[in-house]
Amino acid sequence: MSPAIYGLLFLALGPLFGGLLAGADRIVSARMQGRVGPPLLQPFYDVGKLFQKQTRQVNPIAEPLLLAHVGYMAACGALLLSGTDLIFTAFIFALAALLLVLAAGSANSPFSFTGAERELVVLLASEPFFILMMVAVCKVTGVSTFGAVLASPQLVAVQLPGVVLAFLLVATIKLRKSPFDISVSHHPHQELVSGLTSDMSGRLLAYVELAHWYETALLCAFMVLLFNWSVPLGVAAFLAAYGLEIMVDNATSRMKWQLLLRSTWAATLLLCGGNILALFLIGR
C-alpha cells in the first residue's frame, strides 16, 4: 500500500481511536474513584450534543482559528503517516497547538486569556522535547520518514530509553492530565473554570474535542516511532502509557507553571539530550 493511504486512514480513523480512548479513560477514572462511569461512547454523545447546541461566538475569528486547529492537527498525523519528514511534522504539531492558543486568546475574557497564556507556557515546555525526540529517532535509525523508521531493523526504544521516559512525562501535558493540566481544568469549581475553553460553546467546543482526539492518535503514532518493530507493539506501549497517565491524573494535584517548566525542561535536557549525547559518545 502506498503511504498516502495510511495518511487517509489516519484522517478517517484518528478521531475514532481518540474518542474511544477518551471514553475508556472516563470509565477507568471512574472505576479508580469507586464509580461505574459513563458509557464507552460518551465522548461521541457529548460532541454530538455540542454540534446540536447553539454556538455563541465572543469573537468571530475563533471559529476559523479552531477549524484550522483541527485541520492542522489532522494534517500533521496524515503527513506523518504518509511519509513526510519527521522534524517537519513536529513543527506542524506546534503550529496546530498555537492556533488553539490564538482562538482562546481572541475571546478576551480573564479565564480564557489566562488559559491561553498558560497554554503558551505548556507549549514552551513540551515542544522542545518533540523536536529533540524526532532528531534522536532520525539519528538512531538514519532515516527521517515514518515508514522508513518502521522498516528499520533496530528497536529505537532500546537505544533511546531516556527519550521514552521523557515522552511519558511530556505526554501528560499533551493528554491534558494532572499535574500538568494548568491551562484547562476538566473539573468544576476550580480556579480556572475551564481555562482555554471557557468562552467556547456549541460546535466551537466540539472542534476542540475533535482536535484533541486527533492529537491523541498522533501521540500514539509518535509512540509507534519509538517502538518501531511493529505497529501493534507501539499501540500497546501507548495504551500502557495512557493507563499510567490516568493513574497519575487521579493521584496528583495541579502544578504551578514554574514547576512544570522546570521539570519538563530538566527531563527534556537530561533524559533526551543526555541520551543523544551518550549515543554520540558511544558511536564515536
Binding site: 469507586g34 450534543k49 447546541k53 475551564s194 467556547m200
Partner: protein, 141 residues
C-alpha cells in the same frame, strides 16, 4: 437523533441556600449515586451547560447573577429549582432580603421539592429537565 438525553451538562448555582441541598447535589456525583453514568457533567461554566440547577432562594444581591448565568447559557437550556427555597423561598420566604423562588427572576422548567431535596429526587428532576430540553430543541429545530 438528539444527544441531549445522553449528555446533560449541569451548572450548579447556590442562591441563598443553607447548603443542605448543595450537599445533596454533590452527593449525586459520589460513588453511591454516580450520575456520570448518565453522561452528566458538573461543568461550572454556563457556556458549556444545558441545565441550570439552582438551590436556595433569590435575594436582592443575587438577582443579577442568576439572570446573568441564565443569559450566558446557549439554547436549548432548562432550569431546575432544587429544594423548597428554590421553589418558593421556603422558610426564608418572608425575610426582608428574599425575593422568593427562582421563578421570580428566570423561567423555571422543573421544581424539585424537599428540605433538603433527596439525591434521588434531584436525579429525578434532572431527568425531567432532559425531557424539557428535548421539547425545547424540537421547537427551535
Amino acid at each position: 437523533m438528539s444527544f441531549f438525553g445522553r449528555s446533560p451538562w449541569i451548572l450548579h448555582y447556590d442562591g441563598s441556600s443553607c447548603n443542605g441541598c448543595d450537599i445533596e447535589v454533590l452527593a449525586c456525583l459520589t460513588p453511591l449515586y454516580d450520575v456520570e453514568r448518565f453522561g452528566v457533567i458538573n461543568t461550572g461554566n454556563p457556556k458549556h451547560a444545558d441545565i441550570l440547577l439552582v438551590t436556595g432562594s433569590v435575594n436582592e444581591r443575587n438577582i443579577e447573577i442568576v439572570q446573568n448565568l441564565y443569559r450566558q447559557m446557549p439554547e436549548p437550556k432548562v432550569v431546575v429549582a432544587v429544594g423548597a427555597c428554590a421553589c418558593s423561598g421556603g422558610i426564608f420566604a418572608r425575610a426582608y432580603n428574599i425575593q422568593g423562588g427562582i421563578d421570580r427572576v428566570i423561567p423555571v422548567d422543573v421544581y424539585v421539592p424537599g428540605c433538603a431535596a433527596r439525591p434521588e429526587s434531584i436525579i429525578d428532576g434532572v431527568v425531567g429537565g432532559i425531557a424539557a430540553l428535548e421539547e425545547k430543541r424540537k421547537k427551535t429545530a
